[in-house]
Assembly symmetry: C2
Homo-oligomer: 139 residues x 2
Amino acid sequence: MLSKKSQYAFKALTYLSEKYEQGPVLISEISKKKKIPLKFLENILLELKKAGILDSKKGKGGGYFLQKAPDQITMATVIRLINGPISMLPCVSLYFYERCSNCNEKVCGLHDMMVEVRDATLNIVDNRTIKDLLVNGRG
Amino acid sequence: MLSKKSQYAFKALTYLSEKYEQGPVLISEISKKKKIPLKFLENILLELKKAGILDSKKGKGGGYFLQKAPDQITMATVIRLINGPISMLPCVSLYFYERCSNCNEKVCGLHDMMVEVRDATLNIVDNRTIKDLLVNGRG
DNA sequence: TATAAGTCTATAAAGTTGGTGGGCTATATT
DNA sequence: AATATAGCCCACCAACTTTATAGACTTATA
């Protein structure tokens, strides 16, 4: 399941997409409009910034804004950053791989099945962007 | 990600599948062979029993055994029981549905996308059983 | 009735999640 | 230069979940 933090991140990104190329947006504005706890949102936005998804400006007239176009930010990137692995097992993860302790990946039925699930999921989240979150005034 | 508990459950079910219709198997035997903490395994097996997946016999000569054939126990059933929702959001879950707090499902891009992910995942885990976990002496 | 083996209840350590508080730093304006 | 604005950073915390463990209880068999 996606954490609440991830859901907040998507709401914030949706909001910032609507304001894309319209200058910096205040954290407090996003917090208010999307009903996200201010300080928690602060952490999330900072994380998105450090990952190169957002950028910010300090001082008066400052705020946060998208660093790339909405259709250049994939769902997979955001999920991995804020939520963690997309795979159901560490041993099938592409970005968070960890060896299985008590089983041999090469002869593990569960492994094979989870690879399938991973690929089916990636097929969607790798090919969708946050632009897809705001079709027809949605969000 | 699947919890350690889920992985233990699958290992135990794999082992019990190999011994299907060969009489009760001791918890301690499964624990030893699959390297699963005994008391933890106890809880897991009991849960699987209460869900009608396993059955047991007490006293001497007792133990656990599959209540259905391995190919009659879907992955989805076990995951939902031991791990929880398969969906990435409560608002798209079929078995653990919960309404979204601050968004309208009918006009939510994230919702729509997560429905896709759910269906792609279900398409696999609904059509695989624990029999598929033990192809060619695997496990 | 002794023993084997599952069942039930309770507890607890460790880690994760969701959230807060307060001070620091950079920027714009006057 | 002073001040106000707004993001940055650090530290902490309560609640919950995960991963167990301990011990007493029940039931079946020989």
